[in-house]
């Protein structure tokens, strides 16, 4: 595995405007270097097609023509305009940290990006649920962002955010099932449905959980799981 000797860093830059109102330059580029090459990739922001959509990490894009290595992403995140094809930086960052040995923690890169790019809280007005996880996880910035229930299954969604910042990065989902005696099992991780840094954050969470998601919760969190989960979502919907 190749090692980065620099970066990745988000660096201010001047980028010419595109003749497309859907995509605007961020005046920011992502830079890194390995012993052989230095790479700098200008970043762009996709404006939501529907005005009520919130701008998200996946809306930060780069041009396909600057692609430094193979990436995979969701087709729904690809933007094709007359001047070219744009892919999500989320997928690029994930591949960078997967294919290279990177000394700079992903948390530092994401905190830097969140401080430079105006991303609002993707949950909008909804508040996150703090102080449910073990201190190790909470201190690293992990928190519970959503809890949903579908019959006997409880879904718990995790997020990560840097100190003092509003934007919460999605960090994965786990599920707990009720056994026949009514007790919750120790939980399992839901495979990621989309490619991005969430996979890196989730790997850190899994390491802390040492196998089972239940271990991520402190005593208050465990009581919350058993008693405080709201019976919502699919349970209320008939087919």
């Amino acid at each position: 595995m190749r090692k980065l000797i620099f970066g990745p860093f988000f660096v201010s830059s001047c980028a010419p405007a595109l003749c497309c109102s859907e995509i605007v330059p961020l005046s920011l580029q992502l830079e890194w270097a390995d012993p052989e090459t230095a790479v700098s990739i200008p970043l762009f922001l996709r404006r939501p097609r529907i005005s009520t959509f919130r701008v998200r990490l996946e809306y930060v894009l780069f041009e396909l023509s600057r692609l430094p290595f193979d990436v995979e992403c969701s087709p729904s995140q690809i933007v094709e305009i007359a001047s070219g094809t744009f892919l999500p930086m989320d997928a690029l960052l994930k591949e960078l940290y997967t294919n290279y040995k990177v000394d700079r923690p992903i948390f530092a890169s994401l905190a830097e990006m969140a401080s430079l790019v105006p991303l609002p809280n993707p949950k909008g007005h909804k508040s996150v649920l703090s102080q449910l996880l073990v201190p190790d996880a909470e201190n690293r910035g992990f928190l519970v962002t959503e809890v949903g229930r579908d019959r006997d299954r409880i879904y718990v969604e995790f997020g990560w955010r840097s100190v003092g910042q509003e934007y919460v990065f999605y960090a994965g989902t786990c599920a707990f099932d009720h056994a026949s005696d009514g007790k919750l099992d120790s939980g399992h991780w839901i495979p990621h449905g989309a490619i991005g840094v969430a996979q890196l954050l989730s790997a850190d969470l899994r390491r802390m959980a040492r196998g089972t998601p239940y271990r991520l919760f402190n005593s208050g969190g465990r009581i919350f799981l058993k008693e405080g989960t709201k019976p919502i979502h699919l349970a209320a919907i008939s087919f």
Binding site: C73, S74, P75, I78, G172, A175, G193, A194, L234
Partner: protein
């Protein structure tokens, strides 16, 4: 389907859309959030997905525009229409979990490359598969118990590119979905 029938259908669909209250919309968003959590995508997309689903149906009302066009039985009652909207939401979420690869020399490679049908397909076969997809999945969802919906959504997302049903949750769900699909295809008159 002639154009006048289209207009009647569109008018009925428009009426169903106006019947959707804020509470109905919130329930659909909750449905979307739970579906997103089940497939490992951030639930914060729930509102966006619901709006996209409504937008797709609105676009379908316009002649010569892409979008979703419900069948008569999908709009014969408000509850049928809500069920249809849940199907559109599930399908929209299925699209979000697809993967497309790009090589650094800028050549796009095939989606879901590990299960790609060798040799690709002719445009005719491709069109047949797309038709089958449109016919099969709404019927499959209508018949399936709730526990099979994640597996069906995952299958729909790779249907055009793979001959396998991805295992989401328990592996026995794949067999159950296969069995249901065979029943649906039999009802459709078999594979042409």
């Amino acid at each position: 389907m002639n154009q006048s029938f289209n207009r009647e259908l569109a008018a009925l669909c428009q009426m169903r859309l106006t019947e959707i209250t804020d509470a109905d919309s919130a329930a659909l968003t909750q449905f979307a959030e739970c579906r997103l959590m089940a497939v490992g995508v951030a639930s914060s997309y729930g509102e966006d997905v619901t709006q996209r689903a409504f937008q797709a149906v609105l676009e379908g009302l316009e002649i010569r525009r892409h979008g979703r066009r419900p069948r008569l039985q999908d709009i014969e009652s408000k509850s049928a229409f809500q069920n249809y909207m849940r199907g559109v939401i599930s399908s929209t979420i299925g699209v979000m979990t697809r993967k497309r690869g790009f090589r650094s020399e800028h050549l796009q490679w095939d989606d879901n490359i590990h299960t790609m049908v060798p040799g690709g397909r002719s445009p005719t076969v491709e069109a047949v598969m797309r038709n089958l997809q449109e016919e099969l999945f709404p019927r499959l969802r209508a018949r399936a118990p709730r526990r099979l919906l994640p597996t069906i959504a995952a299958w729909e997302s790779v249907f055009l590119y793979s001959d396998r049903i991805p295992a989401i949750g328990q592996r026995k769900y794949v067999r159950e979905v296969q069995k249901l699909a065979q029943e649906v295809i039999t009802d459709l008159g078999g594979l042409q």
